[in-house]
Symmetry: C2
Subunit: 299 residues, 2 copies
């Protein structure tokens, strides 16, 4: 069985009845399971986590866009989070038994069909991007809904699919494929914020660290400790154990101990299994040796 994760971000986080209607549209598709849904009123935005095989996920995204067109009008939408569309961003994420190439193909097919059926411009991003300038979501979304008409008619910003004018109420949609993101925090047994900041700086890509690490040092005032707060954007190429060991060594240099780590939200099983394989020096191990996986894949 293939497992793909799909994490649509929609521009509605204040009206529970609308969020329910959007979720209902997704849940009506058999084979697309909703694993999580959270709304942020300040951002006026909701994030749904779904999983399933390619065909039902594509159908679920189409159902979600149809429902969003019915309930959301960006011309009257306000919120702290930048957004370009009623359904704003739709990443497909390979989890198990599926390649990144398959998720890219799914993003392209879904984008083409969304554009044709709903007359909404579609941009492809990250691994599905049609050019390096479109890899980063922030670059595509710059100017937001209010600047979208001007952006679409400027050089280099024709959409990948659909019309070169914004949908009046729904704007545009950014669809793509990316690796799962793991929110992995490491807490230090100290209240020295400077140490957390120095370690974050040492391990993050932007200042010379690991390619797939974003990190910052923050204080957990209520606990009197500090945290290296980490986003791992590709756990296969920059695995948790390598980041953990690096933080350990950097902290030791300041005479500071690692208190504990934590994973916020969901993680693919493979990220944890990979840590076990590393530390236990496991050779020739396959995920098919995990009883639960065997059960999932048996008929």
């Amino acid at each position: 069985m293939k497992i793909i994760e799909c994490v649509p971000n929609v521009s509605e986080g204040r009206r529970p009845e609308v969020v329910e209607a959007l979720l209902g549209a997704v849940r009506s598709v058999s084979g697309a399971r909703v694993l999580d849904a959270s709304s942020d009123p300040a951002h006026n935005r909701s994030v749904f986590t779904m999983a399933g095989d390619a065909a039902p996920l594509k159908a679920a995204v189409l159902a979600l866009v149809a429902a969003a067109l019915e309930h959301i009008d960006l011309r009257t939408h306000t919120g702290e989070h930048p957004r370009l569309g009623a359904v704003d961003v739709v990443p497909f994420v390979p989890i198990d038994g599926v390649t990144m190439a398959e998720c890219v193909a799914l993003a392209e097919e879904t984008g083409a069909e969304v554009a044709t059926r709903f007359k909404i411009p579609v941009f492809l991003y990250e691994e599905a991007a049609s050019s390096p300038a479109r890899r980063n979501l922030e670059d595509i979304r710059r100017g937001e809904f209010e600047g979208l008409a001007a952006k679409l008619s400027s050089p280099g910003w024709a959409p990948d699919f659909g019309p070169s004018q914004p949908h009046p109420a729904a704007g545009a949609i950014v669809i793509g494929a990316r690796m799962p993101l793991i929110a992995f925090n490491i807490n230090l047994a100290t209240d020295r914020l400077d140490v957390a900041k120095k370690i974050a700086s040492a391990i993050r890509h932007s200042s010379g660290g690991f390619r797939f690490v974003k990190a910052m040092g923050i204080a957990l005032d209520d606990r009197g400790i500090v945290q290296v707060s980490i986003n791992l954007t590709n756990y296969e190429k920059t695995p948790m154990h390598r980041v953990f060991d690096a933080v350990h060594r950097e902290a030791a240099r300041y005479g500071v101990a690692v208190l504990e780590s934590e994973i916020i939200g969901l993680t693919p099983q493979a990220a944890l299994v990979s840590a076990a394989e590393h530390y236990l020096q496991l050779a020739r191990f396959s995920g098919t040796q995990i009883l639960e996986n065997r059960l999932r894949n048996s008929s």
Copy 2:
């Protein structure tokens, strides 16, 4: 969803058509998935690995016993492996979302129904044993099929369910509940068999080591190295990481490095996740944060 593993051992490993008939009986039960089946002609014995919820597994065991009565007659059975019954041993093993107590109850219910329906004496063993003298399979099986009539009429050996005479063709059945067994081998970067044997002796329960470790040192002649071959009989109470680290330290004492480890066959996910939690110092982690688990338990 509850996941229970059930690993029946049957006294037939030479006639493929009989093994197929037994497997067919098990597969006919919806909800009991067969994950693995292996036959040993020298032992004249087969081991099936099934998984599912309690009710289908109980039905599958009843179907298996019915099929075995049709095809196996222990009066003409020979093989290197000790055996008491046509269906010889049936352990129920808690894997996920289920307690040992539930597996013990399942063993008792299944044993009672097997005895009533087929007039076969049933012994309960390991966690389901009715007395300490019946915990160990070896003690129950001592005397084998050929000595069963005498054993059943001797003091202290009345069966837990069923008649006090052997079933003429099918003998008796040993049913119980136990923790999953993990076959975990650690290979050393040396050809010194004495080192592997000393380490095995240091870590195994019988000579003063960990409570749930069986171990021996063996030579892997084709690779020119030695192995500490380990059976972990309770990975929750004696976790893989503790055994691995102990082997590491013992080996260092002889100037020997750990080359690699390997898991033979299946392991529960939790054994690997527990190693990742330990080495990454993960706090407040729950299996529900694993995306695949969330998917399995969502509707």
